[in-house]
Amino acid sequence: MRVVLTGNHAAAYAALLSRVEVVAAYPITPQTQIVEKLAEFIEGGRLKAKYIRVESEHSAMAAIIGASAAGARTFTATASHGLVYMNEMVFWAGNARLPIVMAIVCRALAPPWNIWTEHTDILAQRDTGWIQFFCEDNQEVLDTVIQAFKIAEDDRVLLPVMVGLDAFILSHTATPVDVPEQEDIDGFLPPRKPLPFILDVNNPLTHSNMAYPNQTMEFRYRLQKAMERAMRVIMEVDEEYGRLTGRKYGGLLDCYRCEDADLGVIVMGSSAGDAKEAIDKLRDEGYKPGVIRIRVFRPFPREELREICRRFKAIAVIDRDLSPGLGGILYTETLTSLYDLKNRPIVQNYIAGLGGRDISVNDFKLIVRELYRNIEEGVEITPIRWIGIEGVNYEFKN
């Protein structure tokens, strides 16, 4: 069924189709329509679930952890300050290995108050043990949330999953979306198994009392191993979902015209669309760039990225985030992946689009052209190129 949906509503429809059982969420711009739509589904009797109208995001994640520990399939959504407020419990969910799914509408952090898109909030959670997805469009939001449940609940994984969608660009922009049929999704996503544990009066166990150093490290080891196994499961689920709906996203990475490219643009989220358009235009001009959209940030696809990038002579990494004192987070992780290559490409970090500032097709064209020029002329790379601020050779008219 084809429906015109905003990214937020797409996430809500995905949760509906996934037959979530407990939702606990607190409103925050720009996530509110996700939880409002779910409240509509639940109160209208369309979704048999409980909606706990918690009094804060921290309580939202705590309630979800409780519900998940009691065996329910759970879902929540938040953004920006809500996410960093619940950070304590986000870590808890990761270490508890509960298969929770959460939609994150990536939004800038304050001060100043800013409701538009930026990836710093979700990337700040990269150490929590959650699998992290970044979506390019509303269709992918719907498909990925459904896939997220299957991945999270797989007994080789048992990790919570965050699905990131850009504030306003995806969350509030309506586009046509294919909504699968309930029976198709029921076949794809069976009811949840009681893993990794369930609170059961017939089998009294205590979860998470104290453990000493000589016991704790093993749990972290197993979490890392689960992340490593998750990569394979993500690929499998993408394939299976592709057979069901005809839509595949490439698993961990979405490569656009990379097979014969000599320069790569690495990007995450909705701006990949603009990047791909720019690459098409540049190809017409005779350049040979390609776009690598990182779909899964955790577990980070180091080997896959390395395999593709070994052919490139240069890479532009576009970070819609900032780790102050270091630079772009995606840039740093990319470099880690490429370190082992004998002939490493030149990698230039671009910080763009913070606080929701537009990254246009023209920006991408200027970035790529400049990078080609710099390689030819042997110009040294700079630690960070701030698009629109420093080194302003760019015009921002399309």
Partner: protein
């Protein structure tokens, strides 16, 4: 024990070991004075006063010697005796 992905603990007496070793004084019940009111049983924080028949006994393996039973006994039937003596 199966490999657990997240810390789950199983019920066990003596999770802190044999806490009877903590004692300096131990409670000794004088059965002839005991009126079987069961107050010592209900007030024991550890659950180491156990019911035997209609009376009580001390579980010396885990009794920590806190002395609440002796302090509360209305018949003064419990004496706190220095460990090693009886």
């Amino acid at each position: 024990m199966e490999t657990l992905e997240t810390p789950l603990s199983k019920p066990s007496e003596g999770s802190a070991g044999i806490t009877g070793y903590w004692r300096t004084f131990k409670p000794v019940i004088n059965k002839s004075k005991c009126i079987k009111c069961l107050l010592c049983w209900i007030y024991c924080p550890e659950g180491t006063i156990i019911r035997v028949g209609d009376g009580v006994e001390v579980n010396y393996m885990y009794c920590k010697g806190c002395g609440i039973c002796a302090n509360e006994c209305p018949a003064k039937a419990i004496e706190m005796v220095l460990e090693g003596e009886i």
